[in-house]
């Protein structure tokens, strides 16, 4: 794939007014790319950036609460910081980091060369990034959102939140929602429609399965939050009366719509992490995953049941005893499939020859820390207990054990595990282990004490507390813990930089650094532009492992081939790939103008709207495959496609 751009592509036919972008490695290539791997990396970089932003917000919260009557942030600023911490971590860090893994790995795990709709994939990323930028622009344009990530009405109305912050919330999240919806449709179609020969649904890796369930949840959950955000935006911008109690507007309507989305969202966040550790644990236990069908079906069950538990977020909102009882019961049931998964991971490790490399440590971290979060979750399924716990730090402790313990640890397991796949070198395992232990200790110091604080009665979302309630000690512990987490992230950054510097000038690591099991490792590290030299024919679950191992005459597992023999060498040339396109980023660039226009001056929506419309039309009439692009393969030039021709 080295010869791709040796013939300088200046001769490209003008398409409309622009020349079709061609492959390359400069910045132009990154903004026009439709390659799922580059888009995955873009998602990863953006998500880690926002993760640091959200982390700084978290540190500010902990500084404010370190001592009684904290003065680091005022009450108003505190509201903005905790709102943006939640919004940033959920929508701009955890979801896109999962999307990074999904984009990079799904085509590789199912034996495809790209996603089904490559330009839409680029669109998803740019629209997400535009949404993230719009949300954070609020800091300098009149104040950040201050109504909590859950945005309860009527507190978010113009009366109680007069700064434009909640407008940014409504419109910025709408954009990230569109991005998620487009990407979920794309990945659903990819997984169903682009599997390699022999890759039946039940030969797909558990990660692919969990991503499929996640995408289906997104497909059906994003429109619900879209409506909720539209209602909020129209109320604030055009004076609609949806949440105005003086004329009969109902605050519960927002809560229902928000949590009908919000609870599936919890599983949207956690299932990719479950998928990641379901790849990591078997690899480092040297055993196939225990109970593969149970893993798959419990994931599907979680996806289904996730739709029937939303009102457990509303036990004290006055929804009536029947609703409370019904949702209490359904919430207890959802612990069953989750428990199945935890048992299966433990059974996978049981009797395995476990190797505690960094990815495995993080994965075991998920199993243990998520279990703690799950157990405290069962305590709020019991609605009378929840009445005591709700709106206290006990809830904050619970969901951080789930989200940090379950998701962030899982995503770090994935980062360490697939780093060589993406960049061609491993991260230092020793530093990785230090990273893990500092993070584990910091995490438990930060969020463990919150259980105690909550049961002592310390309320959430309050910017300060008076001395003498017994909150001082545990709050200080928690703040110290949060800086340990920050230290662990710094260690990770050091590890990334140091490993990259050490790898410079070295040949890439071997094709199979972990003795892994699934199809993505069939390609060399780092993955070549065209992914697979030849589309593999799949014969079993854990296809890659089965190509390396067989059984001898006594039925014992023996190595039959080395990874180097099994892996493709990435030498194929002339693989026909989809062409890059300008239009996804042009489309995404129009949206912030529309959002800012709606907030500040409607005239701004005109250029925004024009950009969007222009991008759509240019996009539609641009063939998916540029007929003039050689893609490094002269023989392919004549192979024009049958798409609608250029107007």
């Amino acid at each position: 794939m080295t010869a791709t751009t040796t013939v300088e592509d200046v001769v490209g036919q003008p398409l409309g007014v622009y020349t079709r972008p061609r492959g390359g490695n400069g910045w132009r290539d990154w903004i026009t790319t439709v390659d799922h791997k580059k888009i995955g990396i873009l998602y990863g970089v953006a998500a880690l950036f926002f993760f640091v932003v959200g982390g700084i917000e978290a540190l500010l919260i902990r500084l404010q609460l370190a001592t009684p009557n904290g003065t680091v942030l005022g009450a108003d600023m505190y509201n903005q910081v905790f709102t943006m911490h939640g919004v940033t971590m959920i929508f701009l860090a955890a979801m896109p980091l999962s999307a990074a893994f999904a984009n990079y790995l799904i085509p590789l795990q199912i034996g495809a060369r790209d996603v089904a709709l490559p330009r839409l994939n680029a669109l998803s990323f740019w629209v997400f990034l535009a949404g993230g930028i719009v949300l954070n622009l609020s800091w300098v344009l009149g104040g950040a959102p201050d109504g909590g990530w859950f945005g309860y009405a009527p507190n978010t109305g113009i009366v109680f939140s007069p700064s434009p912050g909640m407008d940014f919330y409504a419109l910025g999240l709408q954009m990230t929602g569109i991005a998620s919806l487009v990407s979920s449709i794309n990945l659903t179609v990819t997984i169903l429609n682009m599997r390699a020969p022999g890759m039946t649904l039940f030969r797909m890796p558990v990660f692919t399965w969990m991503i499929l369930v996640t995408q289906l949840l997104l497909v059906f959950a994003m429109p619900v939050i879209a409506v909720a955000l539209f209602l909020l935006a129209f109320s604030r911008l055009f004076g609609a009366r949806f949440f105005d109690p003086s004329v009969g507007g109902d605050a519960l309507l927002w809560q229902h719509l928000f949590w009908i989305f919000g609870h599936p969202e919890v599983y949207i966040l956690i299932l990719p992490s479950f998928g990641i550790i379901s790849e990591v644990i078997p690899t480092f236990s040297r055993k196939p995953i225990f109970g593969y069908p149970f893993m798959v079906f419990s994931g599907i069950a979680i996806g289904f049941m996730g739709w029937g538990v939303w009102a457990h977020h509303m036990f004290v909102s006055g929804i009536g005893p029947i609703s409370v009882a019904a949702f209490s019961l359904s919430t207890m049931f959802i612990a069953v499939p989750t428990g199945v998964k935890i048992l299966n991971w433990m059974a996978t490790m049981w009797g395995g020859r476990i190797k505690f490399s960094a990815p495995m440590l993080f994965a075991v971290g998920v199993v243990s820390m998520f279990t703690i979060g799950g157990l405290s979750g069962v305590t709020h399924a019991i609605s009378p207990a929840d009445t005591q716990q709700t709106d206290t730090y006990y809830i904050v402790a619970h969901f951080h054990y789930v989200i940090f313990g379950g998701i962030i640890f899982g995503l770090f397991a994935g980062l360490y595990f697939w780093w060589p796949k993406v960049f061609g070198h491993q991260l230092s395992d020793l530093i990785g282990k230090v990273n893990f232990w500092v993070m584990l200790v910091g995490f438990n110091l930060t969020f463990g004490p919150m259980h105690v604080l909550g049961l002592q009665g310390m309320a959430r979302r309050i910017d300060s507390y008076s001395p003498g309630f017994g909150f001082e000690f545990w709050n200080m512990v928690s703040t110290i813990g949060s800086f340990l987490i920050a230290l662990s992230i710094a260690i990770f950054v050091v590890n990334v930089i140091r490993s990259a510097m050490k790898a410079k000038g070295q040949p890439p690591c071997g094709p199979d650094p972990w003795d892994a099991r699934s199809l993505e490792w069939l390609t060399p590290n780092p993955t070549p532009v065209h992914d697979f030299d030849e589309i593999p024919v799949v014969e079993s679950l854990d296809e890659f492992w089965h190509r390396k191992y067989g059984t001898d005459e006594n039925g014992r597992v023996v190595r039959v081939a080395s990874a180097e023999e099994v892996c493709q060498d990435g030498s194929a040339v002339g693989v026909h790939l989809p062409s890059p396109s300008f239009w996804p980023i042009v489309f995404a660039a129009g949206l912030p103008f529309i959002a800012l226009g709606l907030i500040f001056n409607l005239w701004l929506t005109v250029p925004g709207g024009l950009l969007v419309v222009m991008a759509i039309y240019a996009w539609v009439f641009e063939p998916v495959d540029d007929p003039d692009a050689a893609h490094g393969d002269v023989s392919e030039v004549a192979d024009t496609t049958e798409e609608a021709p250029v107007v």
Partner: protein, 111 residues
Amino acid sequence: MSTDTAPTDVAVDDSNVDDHDHPSDSKYFQIALILGVLTALEVATYYVDIGPALIPILMVMMVAKFFIVAAWFMHLRFDNSLFTKFFVGGLILAVAVYVIALSAFEFWSKG
């Protein structure tokens, strides 16, 4: 394209059809006629008092129209069943979730 000849040929009755065997235009006109009649009946309920049966009857006719359009005009009858699964899946999920939400608002007793 097997339907390019006789517009009177009401082609497809059996379920064993593939993508090349879509109904003929005249079949589409017949479907539209049924839909039109159903709409007329729906509108008639506005003028004729039929008492407590009104809402159930309206719902039955609505569902009938809904599925006729989906099955014939959107070709779900003749197409890959996965399409139906996605669409009906979304539909059932939407109905279930929102019926539960409306129940929580005590819509059916007070609405």
